[in-house]
């Protein structure tokens, strides 16, 4: 059943593309229907997944042979890592359609590409075969370009090109690793099945170069410093729904790949001695992740463009995910997974506010030209403040337990990193408050008058905003709703990984 998520999205993409472009409202409703079906399937999967058993479930069992010559199988399934992300994709998918209700130009193409991207993302999360995963990954790249280049703003061609080049560069590295796996294995028993690969004990020499290829390849998409600059530029250039998907879901593709493939298949590389440094890659990634957090926050602090602030804040928040992944303990992993979900929702909400509720109405994103919006648009201000508070990890919102668990995990693994991370968290508070104050508080600047006559917030926008905010509170107040399956998956993952990683690294 769950595998239908991407079939439905592809189907929807085709159906929407076939409708005439002037049937605007039909196109929108159809897109909403298909996106909602995807979400419904994801939620059904959440209910049907058996947490006690764990492992891959709800897929097509052992799958069917797809390219037998290479040992590629069409195998799908979901576990505690991917299921929350499938739900996240569904949520962002639906709300993205709602926030795109105002798109008038080439509506059918927009939603066709949008659903195609959605399908590709679902596919990545559901693939149990590495080859299949990479195929879906590449499928997801193409629509991004057109979405940005056609419907975007602010240097859209540049942003689109940059983003796609980065994605392909990452994809190339992943392909390199994939080829390596193919050659490393015995040709008779060649397989890309993730479960089987995970059970394979690759030689440490192979791991030492395959791990960086995969981690970097996927890490680029996760905004790993210093390969992050596509993210702010791309997010800013993208239309609202696309920036929601990019920051909310596509960046998670990267971190998901880092976890599932790079760390999942080559955990030994984390502890390996490279250049005479034991645990070289683990240290490097920790430093880079801390850099993400602190650097992203610092740069967000001095941005003038509202959307760039959110873009860099995404870079900063993805640092928590990457940091959590390399802690290799239960808290760090579960925290990273929760942070992926949480940041997906938060980034979706914030980009929606900036792109749709603010920019489309005020026609400026310069923080100096905004100001005083709180009085003119109280709903917008409230939603942004809720999102901002969640972004700074306030208790009661989803970000709190996620960041807390990552902090605990990194505290256990490498306590010193809490210093830059702590500074980063405080800077996060500073830039979030700065943005809130510049955009919504104080007096309205002369340019905007008193913002009277802004178009009112429409019903789809209200519904989508309330939906996203409700999820923030739900996960914040009762994190167990997702954590139980994340914990289970992390536990199984660690049990397996610990056999290959030196004990001192995986200390509880």
């Amino acid at each position: 059943m769950l595998v239908w998520t991407f079939w439905i999205s592809f189907l929807g993409s085709a159906a929407v593309a076939l409708l005439p472009s002037h049937w605007k409202s039909e196109v929108r409703w159809l897109a909403l229907l298909f996106a909602a079906l995807g979400l419904a399937l994801g939620l059904w999967g959440w209910g049907a997944y058996d947490v006690e058993v764990g492992g891959y479930q709800l897929g097509n069992g052992e799958g069917v042979p797809w390219i037998p010559e290479l040992g590629v199988r069409f195998r799908l399934g979901a576990d505690g890592f991917s299921l929350p992300l499938v739900i996240l994709t569904g949520v962002i998918g639906v709300t993205g359609v709602l926030y795109s209700w105002n798109i008038e130009e080439r509506v059918n193409q927009f939603f066709a590409l949008y659903l195609l991207l959605l399908g590709g993302v679902y596919g990545v999360f559901l693939s149990v075969d590495l080859f299949l995963l990479v195929v879906f990954y590449e499928i997801a790249i193409v629509p991004k370009y057109f979405l940005i280049a056609i419907w975007g703003s602010t240097r859209k061609e540049y942003g689109a090109m940059k983003l796609v080049l980065y994605s392909f560069a990452g994809g190339a590295l992943v392909l390199l690793g994939l080829a390596g796996i193919a050659f490393a294995a015995d040709p008779a028993a060649r397989s890309f099945d993730l479960e089987r690969l995970a059970a394979t004990n690759f030689s440490s020499g192979f791991q030492a170069w395959a791990f960086p290829a995969f981690f970097l390849g996927f890490g680029i998409l996760a905004g790993l410093w210093p390969f992050h600059t596509w993210a702010p530029t791309g997010h800013v250039a993208a239309p609202t729904a696309a920036s929601m998907l990019l920051a909310g879901v596509v960046m998670k593709l990267g971190s998901y790949g880092c976890l599932r493939v790079a760390i999942g298949l080559f955990p030994g590389a984390l502890g390996a001695t490279v250049l005479g440094v034991p645990g070289f890659w683990r240290w490097t990634i920790t430093v880079l992740a801390a850099m993400n957090i602190l650097y992203g926050a610092m740069v967000a602090l001095v941005q003038r463009d509202f959307k760039f602030v959110i873009g860099y804040s995404s870079v900063s928040h993805m640092g928590f995910v990457l940091l959590g992944l390399v802690t290799l303990n239960l808290w760090g992993l579960s925290g990273a997974l929760l942070q992926m979900f949480s940041h997906g929702i938060v980034a979706g909400l914030l980009f929606a506010v900036v792109g749709r509720l603010v920019y489309d109405r005020t026609h400026t994103r310069e923080l100096d030209e905004l100001g005083g919006l709180g009085r003119a648009a109280p709903f917008t201000a409230s939603v942004f403040i809720i999102g901002g508070l969640a972004s700074m990890g306030l208790p009661g919102m989803s970000g709190f337990f996620a960041e807390l668990l990552v902090l605990i995990g990194s505290w256990k693994a490498f306590a010193w990193v809490l210093i830059p991370v702590g500074i980063g968290m405080i800077v996060t508070v500073v830039y979030t408050l700065r943005t809130i104050h510049l955009a919504f508080f104080g007096a309205a600047p002369l340019v905007g008058g008193d913002w009277r006559g802004l178009p009112p917030i429409t019903l789809p926008e209200k519904a989508a905003s309330c939906f996203l905010a409700a999820i923030l509170f739900l996960v914040g107040l009762y994190p167990t709703v997702l954590l139980s399956m994340m914990d289970r998956a992390s536990q199984q993952f660690l049990d397996r990984v610990k056999q290959t990683v030196p004990v001192h690294l995986a200390r509880p």
Partner: protein, 611 residues
């Protein structure tokens, strides 16, 4: 049973008010006030019945990091809950009068309920993580209420400052919680208390063995430094006076700022393990008390006088904890909540009557025009100064007695601060209420309605009630510590009576009938020095402007020119150049192709021959 209602009542009021009643001001105020009164009544009943709360439910469980949602209802929580709910209820009622006609009244009451919810959460929290959660939420509601009039830039900035400074302290607190959890494996207060005696050994044996015990205690103390505005994080509290006066009274005088002290008392069994940490805490408190009292003497804004005085009193409480006497701290916390709220509400009453005039030197003569407020304010002032038979005397003298026994230097410091306290309060009273009116508004001021007078009366009553020796307050204390207040020789008591007397008489002599600050006329240099608040704000501003923002700008430069410029554009430029170079070989000219062919053949031949 039913302790959760204490949290649910204000939470419901917040949710209903925030979602549905933002434009229905009267209804929002009714709902919020009703919830505050109901929780006050309910807390009193629960305290009376000494009902035990229900067992907790697991809230979060990840790999041994278990957080149980458990409510605590021991004597400490009972006392604090009574203080918070009753002062809160009085201030809710008062706010009806103060906020009348404000277009944001609905929002105001919703936020007030959010605050009550978070504050009661801190009081009832059964473990460190719950306390931290509500700790942050209190910070949020304080931010929202300080910046309530967010169109005013100064208010919005003050809210931001408070939030960020608090966050600094909170991070230290969080680190402390992490250490405690790592070492003892639990965050629950009861388990922690049981395991506390082994803390030193287990810390030494853990991977964190390099941390001295005192450092762990001081990390936890960071939380109190932020929340209770202790030196050096005291800078946010005076600015917080930008919020509406009821907020100043409730949050920034009576309850939230006292949360730090409450936390110190709650975790006293941990702090008690380290004499060094206690010493540091005591001196931090003492220093805050002294510095704030010094600065108060040069303040001209009626609310700022009270704000700095709050700082100073919080310093006393923290000092008491540091002197290993949490019960004295809690006693002073309770009495201070009553009389400082009273003073703020009195000030608020004056401010409303004077149409938001806050400058002391434009008031005067209010004793004749606003008798009710004046009497209430006088009661609060006498309580604060520690005049016998008023609440503050018993509690402040309690702290000074402890200091006399434990640490003579701190006693001297505390006694001098007490003298300053009487001096600046006398100055405030003389300037605002006595003499002739010095401003248009002061000359026409009239008393406010009952909705504002009533809470004043109730709080004034409380400012006496606590002083009854052997009365209810002492019962509370006895349950807290199992020990009665100490008895001091008569000469010490005489000294304690002398201090406020000297201060008040001195103020009367110095400031009587003066149109401006007499201190400034007599010693302009001294006044300037005190009014500068020793440049702490300027120093922090320099840190933000000079260091943080420059560093951020530098990093943006790195991002733009380094990573994106040199790195990304560099790569694309390299590809571009390479393409251009290769394009030369693709010129379409046959002669050039022939030349290249010849060159290649020659090269191959040469290589072949050489091999």
């Amino acid at each position: 049973m039913g302790h959760a209602f204490l949290l649910l009542l204000p939470l419901t009021a917040f949710a209903v008010g925030g979602l549905f009643l933002r434009r229905r001001h009267a209804l929002a105020a009714t709902v919020s006030t009703a919830s505050a009164l109901a929780s006050a009544a309910w807390a009193t009943w629960l305290a009376w019945a000494k009902a035990d709360p229900a067992a907790g439910a697991v809230w979060l469980d990840a790999g041994g990091f278990t957080v149980v949602f458990r409510l605590e209802w021991d004597a400490l929580a009972r006392l604090m809950a009574a203080v918070v709910t009753w002062v809160g209820a009085a201030i809710h009622v008062y706010s009806w009068g103060y906020m009348r006609g404000d277009p944001g009244t609905g929002r105001f009451f919703a936020f007030l309920s959010l605050f009550m919810f978070s504050m009661l959460g801190i009081v009832l929290a059964g473990n460190l993580v719950m306390m931290y959660v509500f700790w942050e939420l209190v910070g949020l509601s304080s931010y929202l209420l300080i910046g309530f009039w967010h169109e005013r830039a100064s208010a919005a900035d003050a809210g931001k400052k408070a939030f960020i400074v608090n966050k600094l302290g909170d991070f230290g607190f969080l680190l402390g919680i992490l250490v405690v959890w790592t070492v003892l494996g639990t965050v629950d207060f009861l388990d922690l208390q049981a395991a506390a005696p082994t803390f030193r050994d287990r810390l030494a044996a853990s991977p964190l063995g390099f941390l001295p015990l005192g450092a762990v205690a001081l990390l936890l103390f960071c939380g109190a430094v932020g929340k209770s505005a202790q030196f050096p994080l005291h800078v946010w509290l005076p600015d917080a006076m930008e919020g509406p006066t009821p907020v100043s009274a409730l949050i920034h005088a009576a309850t939230m700022v006292a949360a730090g002290v409450y936390m110190l008392c709650r975790l006293f069994f941990l702090f008690a393990l380290s004499p060094v940490a206690l010493e540091a805490i005591a001196w931090t408190g003492g220093l805050t008390a002294l510095l704030a009292a010094l600065w108060t003497v040069a303040q001209d804004d009626i609310k700022r006088v009270l704000a700095y005085s709050t700082l100073s009193q919080l310093g006393y409480m923290v000092m008491a904890v540091g002197l290993a006497s949490p019960h004295a701290a809690m006693f002073h916390l309770s009495t201070h909540a009553a009389f400082k709220a009273l003073l703020f509400l009195g000030a608020g009453s004056v401010i409303v009557a004077l149409h938001h005039e806050q400058d002391l030197w434009r008031m005067g003569g209010l004793w004749n025009r606003m008798r009710w407020t004046s009497v209430a304010f006088l009661v609060g002032m006498l309580a604060l100064c520690g005049v016998p038979f008023f609440a503050g005397a018993a509690s402040k003298d309690g702290i000074l007695l402890v200091a006399l026994r434990e640490n003579r230097a701190l006693f001297a410091l505390g006694a001098f601060t007490a003298l300053l306290t009487s001096l600046y309060m006398g100055r405030l009273f003389v300037a605002a209420f006595l003499g002739a009116p010095r401003g248009e508004a002061a000359a026409r001021a009239t008393e406010n309605g009952w909705v504002m007078k009533g809470p004043l009366a109730v709080l004034a009553l409380f400012s006496f009630a606590f002083a009854w020796r052997g009365g209810w307050a002492h019962d509370c204390l006895a349950t807290l510590v199992g020990a009665p207040m100490e008895h001091a020789p008569a000469v010490v008591h005489a000294f304690f009576i002398l201090i406020p007397l000297c201060g008040l008489l001195g103020a009367w002599a110095l400031y009587r009938e003066k149109p401006t600050d007499a201190l400034g006329q007599l010693f302009p240099g001294l006044r300037r020095a005190l009014a500068s608040k020793f440049l702490f704000d300027e120093f922090y501003l320099w840190l933000v402007r000079g260091v943080q923002e420059r560093f951020a700008a530098f990093l943006r430069g790195v991002d733009q020119w380094g990573v994106d410029g040199l790195g990304v554009r560099g790569v694309s430029l390299a590809a571009f150049c390479l393409g251009n170079v290769l394009r030369c070989f693709h010129s379409g000219s046959l002669q050039f192709y022939g030349f290249l062919l010849g060159l290649a053949t020659a090269a191959l031949l040469i290589f072949g021959v050489l091999r």
